[in-house]
């Protein structure tokens, strides 16, 4: 019997009133199998919604599950704990089903070993974390709020510091994840070279550096005393301005005008007189070499009593790492500043504080953000370059 005739005979039987089975047996049989199916379906949903099921894959058990055990969501004075699905599976039915379907991607990853080693997991962690952050940012931290509620917070039971940050957040109904990233698992670790900020700026880099033009470093750039890179001279900071005099292969010779404090070896170079905006750090030998660094007449800064000198220097740098227009830097920095700082409070305008006040303010707050070192430096440089010292408004 072919498959087609089998299906046809099945269909014929289906559309004919039964001759040998009673209506009662069919109704009761359908009713009971319906109940069993419904129960089985929900049981399957529930079983796949348990922590035991989640950690049956070593990818979960050996990475995120271990990290959770160091946190307050694992063990705390109340004895209430969060399990994987409490935070990571939507509780509302439609979105839960969508998430279950999404898990087919996780099955795929399991089968093909996408994150089957710790190294692979660490490499993917930022991408994975960003998915969860995006989900919680979109639903205003719904899964956190299934347990936590601003209205139920007892301000008197909190430390003064906690109230200081939590009360303004409650007033603005800020989603939990905006400030509490990394509360249950480790934050992604970033190497300076893998910064997503640098990746954005790489696309805006100047493709060729021409003599006589000004350029601005968009990442720390190692500089040299000569074109063969044999004698390191130091490092340019972000937004350091150079004027290219000549190009030779992959290197350019540049001149730079900056200021230094006439104290110590004068290794640190600043943007302007009396301004603590670092533009370069030189090697000790380079900083002391009067053939490379020529210093002008010292001027005293009344605020600190320190002598400052304008310096001109001529060194070599690789061609990569510069943009032609500093506004390329500031656009990226401004977006990063707004994103990282507006989560907890209204971020002050850059020109609300002076160039020399920003570093202390910034370092006091940056621990609450997830900025990598490069991003921190970029944002601080942006703030210093747009401070009240650079603005007509204040």
């Amino acid at each position: 019997m072919s498959i087609k005739s089998l299906i046809l005979s099945f269909w014929d039987t289906l559309r004919t009133p039964p001759a040998t089975i009673s209506l009662g047996v069919i109704s009761i049989g359908g009713f009971i199998t319906g109940i069993i199916f419904w129960g089985g379906f929900n049981t399957a949903l529930e079983v796949t919604n348990t922590e035991k099921f989640c950690i049956s894959c070593h990818e979960m058990a050996d990475n995120v599950y271990l990290e959770l055990q160091e946190t307050v969501h694992w063990s705390n004075r109340t004895g209430v704990r969060a399990t994987c699905p409490d935070c990571h599976v939507p509780h509302e039915w439609d979105n839960k089903i969508a998430r279950k379907m999404q898990a087919s991607k996780e099955v795929w990853g399991k089968v093909f070993g996408t994150i089957n080693t710790r190294e692979k997991f660490l490499e993917k962690r930022e991408e994975l974390a960003r998915h969860e952050w995006a989900r919680l940012e979109a639903n205003n931290s719904l899964e956190c709020r299934n347990c936590h509620d601003y209205d139920s917070m007892d301000w008197d039971a909190m430390s003064d510091e906690a109230v200081f940050y939590m009360q303004p957040a409650a007033e603005r109904n800020v989603g939990c994840i905006e400030c509490h990233k990394g509360i249950a698992h480790h934050l992604p670790e970033r190497e300076p070279g893998t910064s997503h900020i640098i990746a954005q700026l790489d696309g805006r880099a100047a493709s060729s550096l021409k003599g006589g033009e000004d350029y601005f470093a968009y990442k720390p750039v190692k500089i040299y005393e000569n074109s063969d890179m044999s004698t390191p001279a130091g490092t340019l900071n972000l937004a350091a301005k150079i004027e290219v005099t000549q190009a030779s292969g992959d290197m350019v010779e540049f001149t730079m005008t900056a200021w230094r404090k006439n104290k110590g070896y004068g290794r640190v170079l600043y943007d302007d007189f009396g301004m603590n905006t670092r533009v370069a750090v030189l090697e000790r030998e380079t900083a002391q070499d009067e053939e490379i660094v020529t210093a002008g007449t010292p001027q005293m800064d009344d605020n600190t009593g320190l002598d400052w000198s304008e310096v001109k220097l001529s060194l070599w740098a690789p061609k990569s790492g510069f943009v032609a227009d500093p506004s390329q830097l500031w656009e990226v920095a401004e977006a990063s500043y707004a994103e990282s700082c507006s989560g907890c409070h209204a971020q002050p305008d850059p020109d609300h504080f002076s160039t020399n006040a920003w570093p202390a303010l910034f370092s006091g707050m940056v621990g609450f953000t997830n900025m990598d070192p490069i991003e921190q430096e970029l944002v601080l440089t942006y703030l210093q370059n747009h401070s009240s010292d650079h603005s007509d408004a204040h």
Binding site: S9, P18, G29, F41
Partner: protein, 57 residues
């Protein structure tokens, strides 16, 4: 309907029971799972395009 089996009540009984069991135990559960799964898949794809679901508090 094939006339060779229509008069045979044993064959007819067997055929009706097979059809009943295949329908209630295999075809309908599979269809139900496929519908729910398809719904979930459509939601997932809409989230890929429109971003994750938003909730107002």
């Amino acid at each position: 309907m094939p006339s060779t089996t229509s008069g045979n009540s044993v064959g007819s009984r067997r055929r009706e029971w097979t059809t009943f069991l295949v329908l209630t135990l295999i075809v309908l559960p599979a269809l139900a799972v496929a519908f729910v799964g398809g719904y979930g898949f459509v939601l997932w794809m809409s989230q890929v395009i429109n971003g994750p679901p938003t909730v107002d508090f």
